[in-house]
Symmetry: C2
Subunit: 465 residues, 2 copies
């Protein structure tokens, strides 16, 4: 009986000692980040010297070169590229959008009213003819409604997708998930029924005059690719109210010169710290380097890239020698193709790499609240055991599911995935807009996120996963 209790005590002692050491190291990691991080200065350069950088653009190429240099400077043992082909879509000249309605208090005063509204082409859209497209507007609340209406009512129209975000969702990413099919597959379904173009309400919790771009997909089965744009939520409300109040048809005019050029060569950039004990086992943390060119790609996802590089810098600065190999990856082409993420997964399979864990950071540089996770129940248990280590830093939430897009190809290879979960409330104020600039990122919030990533990488490297 006695030896049994001593055994228990010894075990508890070891456990506590281990936790204590970890907690001391986490404290060092957060202090290093909050006092000496370079991620904010790095983000400043990426956003303000390079700016928006859609895959295939000269800015994306500059960003690749910048990543290489910055990773070298972070103290990585080695930095290398993973080449891949990326789509090359360009927005072209200034886009024009107009709402045309009939003002008719009485027959004598009857006249056309033209209101200019900001539009932005959805990524991947075809251009309009040079003279633009003018047609009657048909407002719908979603893709399903098109099937109910049928070709007769849709043919020749501009379909206006206007289902708003459900703002009662506590996490706006859930509201996004419930609305984004309108942007992604709306144009294809509308084309199927003979629509001539689509206009999509912007994906945001706010009502303001900032249009949000984003990807769309043309299904192979459609008769013809039709132009697709987004309008601001303010303009969407205006258009909808005119459609309700006007006895005569309301028309929309759009003119866009976007086009898809031939694929370009580009690459992921990978920094590596070699593991001293198991160099063959890899923990990867990454964000995506490309961004929409409407803004500077600060929250989406410059933040994730500079945080991932910062993980390397922090480990190096603290003299932490990781047992496993640590990789920071700047993925290319997340926004409109995922070719970088796919290439990473392809090479991991081809080279039979052993990934212990893949972590993504692509939800903005806001205060970290936790991690989402996809993996085994055993691993989830381990994660929960580490929760008390993170709580002093306000990082409480380990309940969410899923990783991110760029690391998703690794899931098939049995790799557990995580994503940093920052506070989500402000994300859709900036997402895919001209407002996604450096000044929207808070220095301490960004640094706290980098520290939280470094802490997770450290724990997994120390204890396995």
């Amino acid at each position: 009986m006695k030896s049994w209790s001593i055994g228990i005590l010894a075990f508890a002692g070891t456990f506590c000692y281990g936790q204590k050491q970890d907690s001391v190291m986490l404290r060092k990691i957060y202090t290093e980040a909050l006092k000496h991080a370079q991620c904010y200065a790095n983000l400043d350069y990426l956003c303000n010297k390079i700016g928006g950088r859609l895959a295939g653009s000269p800015q994306a190429q500059q960003a690749v070169e910048w990543s290489f240099r910055t990773m070298k400077n972070s103290g990585a043992d080695s930095v290398f590229m993973q080449e891949c082909l990326v789509p090359h879509w360009v927005r072209g000249g200034k886009e024009i959008g107009q709402i045309r309605s009939t003002k008719s208090t009485d027959d004598k005063d009857r006249r056309l009213e033209v209101e200019a509204v900001k539009i932005c082409a959805l990524g991947g859209s075809v251009a309009t003819p040079w003279e633009g497209i003018l047609a009657d507007v048909l407002e719908v609340q979603g893709v399903d409604e098109l099937y109910k209406l049928g070709a007769e009512k849709i043919k020749g129209k501009i379909v206006f997708f206007n289902r708003p975000f459900d703002n009662s969702e506590i996490d706006p990413f859930n509201a996004y998930g419930k609305a984004v099919d309108q942007r992604w597959k709306g144009p294809s379904i509308a084309a199927k029924f003979g629509a001539v173009a689509t206009v999509c309400r912007s994906m945001t919790t706010l009502i303001n005059d900032v249009p949000h771009t984003g990807s769309m997909q043309y299904l192979d089965s459609i008769p013809e690719k039709i132009p697709a744009c987004a309008i601001s939520t303010w303009a969407a409300e205006r258009l909808s109210s005119l459609l309700k109040s006007s006895a005569e048809p309301v028309q929309f005019y759009l003119n866009m010169s976007c086009q898809t050029l031939p694929d370009e060569k580009s690459c992921n950039v990978v920094a590596e710290l070699k593991g001293w004990e198991h160099p063959e086992k890899i923990i990867v943390v990454g964000g995506h380097l490309d961004s929409w060119e409407t803004g500077d790609g600060a929250q989406d996802d410059g933040a994730g890239v500079v945080q991932s590089i910062e993980v390397i810098r922090i480990l190096k600065a603290l003299g932490i020698k990781p047992r496993f190999t640590i990789r920071a990856v700047a993925f290319i082409n997340e926004e409109n193709g995922l070719r970088g993420g796919l290439k990473y997964g392809e090479l991991a399979a081809k080279n039979k790499e052993q990934h212990v864990l893949a972590i993504e950071t692509d939800r903005g540089g806001f205060t970290p609240r936790g991690f989402t996770f996809s993996g085994s129940a055993e691993q989830r248990k381990k994660l929960f055991k580490w929760k008390p280590l993170f709580e002093p830093y306000g990082v409480y939430d380990f309940t969410g599911k899923g990783g991110g897009g760029d690391i998703s190809p690794l899931e098939k290879q049995g790799v557990p995935l995580m994503e940093l979960y920052p506070d989500p409330q402000r994300y859709f104020d900036y997402h895919h807009t001209a407002d996604d600039t450096f000044k929207s990122v808070n220095k301490r919030e960004l640094e706290m996120g980098a520290a939280t990533l470094a802490a997770m990488v450290y724990l997994v490297s120390e204890h396995g996963f």
Copy 2:
């Protein structure tokens, strides 16, 4: 045995049913806030139509009248004022600050270098003489250092308090707590040793060129009141580096025309929803109406005022009839006197009011993370029991201690105190500066805070405390 287990089950059933009902009601409260809140529009008016509003100013008076109207519109059963006298300090004309150093590469090229730096008088400071004050600068790392240096080294000097924020603190409010004595009592201690003025490094986590004002106190015991100002952290770094590198004395020049006028009449504004069962028992929630005039007082503390009013609106909109009386208070003069908070406490004692709980919201309109609390162990237990009800809304942290300044006079009367604990990372980017404007507040974050306050008020009113 059987009846005992049935008893347990019945109890568990009641408990679960109660928790279930509460969780349904909290969901309604958050939905109401996120879909229909008026707090953001109210804050827009307060910041952009009225603006900065130091106690005693015409803007403060406008804000009192605005509060009265807005509280009426929120659906309160009654709105009333609590009159009190407030100090009336005014900043006066444009403040001038200069660093004067000697540039001397060699004797022939020796010349005076004058660099203009932004300063702002600390609240309550006396003016300089009309011609300003020019004197040698003595840099110190805190108030204690003055005692070590003694009068001989301090007499005739401008004391420059330059101990920075400890950015390794996870909660910047702790860094503030560790640095703010330099601003608050630094001028008095410096005056005691014969200094002619003080310059204080701004209270912020950032290095930028925005000076932060804030209160200071002249002790009765000092021989003479000396002028006290703040400089930006950027200017503080500059001044410090010149002091280190310059062989000759570095001087500072300041010119300020601030003054304290006779006390003015002002008031707290109080909205009330009468309790149907115990109208004599009161739950109070409040923020402060006054703000520094350097900005628009959006985060500090327009946010708290509009959130408190929103609590009333939400309860009313949902048809919740509270068992206890609910009060929303716009306190006056928190920034430089606390006369409103003191008056509220005085009247509560005089009228033998029974306060069940007092909640303050004065830490900015950021995503709510929890509540701080001061009260009995029994009450803390109750609070922890409610934690699972808040977790779906990202509100996890109930471990912090303390209430806020305005409700602190109630503590002596045995009233338990709470303060809403929003995410603290961005607060000292704005605090007491020209950057504390409406656009620094995020709509959803503000609304989430209002909902969290309403949820707590609801639970305490339903279940007692």
